[in-house]
């Protein structure tokens, strides 16, 4: 399978965007309700400009989108992107579940020897 480098870049932006507590909070809020950028700014002690920057970063990572409503910009969370973020870890979970099941089996039959046990290459 070939990795699409555009996908890779997008995923990287995604994780970088989520690696900040304020940005994670903005995502959570904007998934539940409609918030304008100024309404979001009132939720934090940081400056309006800082919040605006956070929103821009989240927008670039496609975690949120902005839509004009009157004179305001409404920030909406993008549920699909969050799902993508979890997908990779789900795959690793499967690998480890299988591995631990094997671990348990071997642990319960440590004396059993396979035909090429101890075979050195």
């Amino acid at each position: 399978m070939v990795v699409d480098s555009a996908d890779e870049k997008q995923a990287d932006r995604l994780f970088r965007a989520l690696a900040n507590p304020t940005r994670r909070d903005i995502v959570k809020r904007s998934m539940r309700d409609d918030y304008s950028v100024s309404a979001l700014a009132r939720c934090y002690t940081t400056s309006f400009a800082a919040v605006q920057k956070h929103v821009a970063l989240l927008e670039a990572a496609r975690l949120v989108s902005k839509r004009p409503r009157g004179r305001e910009q409404i920030v909406r969370g993008n549920t699909e992107a969050i799902e993508t973020a979890r997908r990779l870890l789900d795959q690793f979970e499967e690998v480890w579940r299988e591995r631990i099941d094997l671990f348990d089996k071997v642990l319960n039959q440590p004396e059993k020897e396979g035909p090429d046990a101890g075979d050195q290459h």
Binding site: D104, Q109, K112
Partner: protein
């Protein structure tokens, strides 16, 4: 099912797998310390692992390969960063080229293993394994390799171990 909990953190690129076993901690430890036991569970049944080296000391290296159903070999290496019998192992896990040398173009993963007796009952041992990834690209690459093996696993006959 020995796995009791899985904690995934997409924000920190980490995953912690906690499991419990009906065995003494010393025996759980041996599953990592003894390469002959280790190679019976590290690779999926259709991609069994063979550990060629297993220098189980701090700074020591392990090298292994996994053999697929068509005879393809996937090589990997470990570097042990911390070893505290019988409760802590930390190592870096990476891919190797066909000669078994670390492949710098491929991702590495940090693995932290904690083993401890469960206070409630003397014969139960708890093991927590934390995997930490450096970047999302690394995760993508690793997931791909895992998927390839997983698909083979699914279509192949899953016999009892060995």
């Amino acid at each position: 099912m020995p796995v009791t909990n899985i904690e995934k953190s997409p924000e920190n690129l980490t995953m912690v797998v906690t499991s419990e076993f009906e065995a003494e901690p010393g025996r759980v430890w041996q599953m990592w310390a003894d390469p002959r036991l280790l190679e019976r569970w590290w690779g999926p049944p259709t991609w069994p692992a063979t550990f060629v080296d297993h220098e189980f000391t701090v700074g020591g290296r392990a090298s292994y390969f996994m053999t697929g159903p068509d005879g393809d070999k996937a090589r990997g290496w470990w570097r042990f960063e911390a070893i505290e019998p019988t409760h802590r192992i930390e190592f870096a896990d990476g891919f190797a080229d066909q000669d078994g040398e670390p492949d710098d173009g491929m991702p590495t993963m940090a693995v932290r293993v904690s083993i401890g007796q469960d206070g409630a009952s003397g014969s139960t041992t708890r093991m927590a394994i934390e995997s930490r990834f450096d970047s999302i690209e690394d995760m993508e690459k690793l997931a791909e390799m895992g998927m390839e093996e997983g698909i083979t696993l699914a279509i192949g006959q899953i016999d009892d171990l060995l």
